[in-house]
Amino acid sequence: MTLDELFALSKVPTPIELSQEDLTRLYWKHRGLLKSQGRDQRFWDATNKNLRLAYERLDEKERQLGKAYSIIQEDLQVATRIQAALLPVPTSIMERDLEIAVYHKQLTEVGGDYYDFFTDESEAADGRNADGYAIGVFDISGHGVSAALVMTYLKAMFAQQMLRSTSPKDIVRSVNEAAFDFLRGIKKYATVNFVKFASKKIQYVCGGGFGLVVHGQEVFHFERKDPFLGLRDRAFRQYEIPFVTGDLLALYTDGMVESQDAEGQDYTARRLNDLIALHADRAVGEIVQCCVDDYRAFRATDIDDVTLLVMRRKEAL
């Protein structure tokens, strides 16, 4: 029997008789297999060693990432608290003149929706001078820390301009002029809804925001033809709407109205406006809750920051 015939068998025959030549081949085949096995072993040892090192490096990277994530989380928590602290509370004059209810929810820890109450202390100090305060609602493009930083920037700009002018269109134009290059540079823009309260009326500038006034049986929707802040360097138009005792004013960003249900249908501004008008005789807190409940029942998921302010004039100014 030759060595090749032996290898072709499935069982070991007895007795095995091999020639010297085949025995020599068997010897070298055995040695060759041992060599090959040794080379395989060295290859796998090197591979396993590398795998172990890779896991160690991965562990180290994970530790570093965990540390970095923890720092970011801490920073975000601080940013959340700072942003919450920057949200205003109504001044005593506003509280005397207006019933106010607010729903404000950021999509992430910090966000781009922002509202503010502005007061010109020198005018407000006169007691019942309604020209002394204004309300702004803004939606900065994008979300997160960058939008929040733009929010603080705009807050400061509006506060500054309130001291220099009493006209809403001049205030908004001045802020836009001053912020235009900066906002363009960082590729950000912001919708603006700036409302100044005057005797028996409001004056507003609206660039991309949403607003309506329920005046008796009439409903006035805000003109939304002006540009966003940071989008065009041009003048803004100012509008007036009567606003007397019992009238209702609602201001909101696009978070609610651009949400969609599971079938992809939009919530729409019309639905929200109709809801507000329908419940206009209820307390402002109830109106806000009613809108929020309707939105929550409708939307498949939150896709944006949501801000809704509803206020009613308590008495004639």
Partner: protein, 178 residues
């Protein structure tokens, strides 16, 4: 040949074989894989530096890169024999050694200035005793070359035993085969 004069170049097919062996053995992965295998014209000569880049990845990633490069060289020659022109050039393990006479095998895949290209030459061959000696002054990594010799001699399948040792002097490969 689209490479500049005086540059060390390697046959695209050799680079392809080297890169493919690295990929098959999962030695390089992800982004490096696609980079290693893209735009290799197997019929043209390409800069030797491209091969060196892949080699550098292996040397950087593996602390003990010797056995890895040896396996890459082995797999590269198995591919050369099974899927390339190998089986038409060599029929036995000893043929592979004879193919290295006067560096002819090496010269067919690497070109460049004499000072850079070096030699890969069969110095001695005793088929009866099953011994041979190859002298190499090429720029290839010597563990890789050891794998190339083992793979090139093993691929035809007629040898039961192949051992290549260059521990005393990396440029001199002492070969025993049966």
């Amino acid at each position: 040949m689209s490479t500049s004069e005086g540059q060390l170049v390697v046959m695209g097919a050799t680079l392809q074989g080297f890169a493919q062996a690295c990929v098959n053995l999962n030695i390089i992965a992800g982004r490096e894989t696609s980079g290693a295998l893209t735009e290799i014209d197997i019929m043209s000569f390409v800069p030797f530096e491209r091969l060196r880049e892949i080699e550098r990845i292996v040397l950087m990633v593996y602390e003990d890169s010797g056995p890895i490069l040896e396996r890459v060289g082995f797999e590269m020659m198995m591919g050369w024999y099974r899927f390339g022109p190998g089986k038409h050039i060599v029929k036995t393990g000893a043929d592979f050694l004879r193919f290295q006479t006067g560096s002819q095998g090496y010269a067919s895949v690497v070109k460049g200035p004499e000072s850079k290209v070096g030699i890969f030459r069969l110095q001695e061959l005793d088929e009866k005793k099953g011994t041979a000696l190859i002298h190499s002054t090429t720029p290839f990594e010597k563990n890789l070359e050891r794998g190339v010799i083992i793979g090139g001699m093993t691929a035809p399948g007629d040898l039961d035993y192949v051992e290549v040792v260059n521990t005393q002097d990396p440029q001199w490969f002492n070969i025993e085969f049966h």
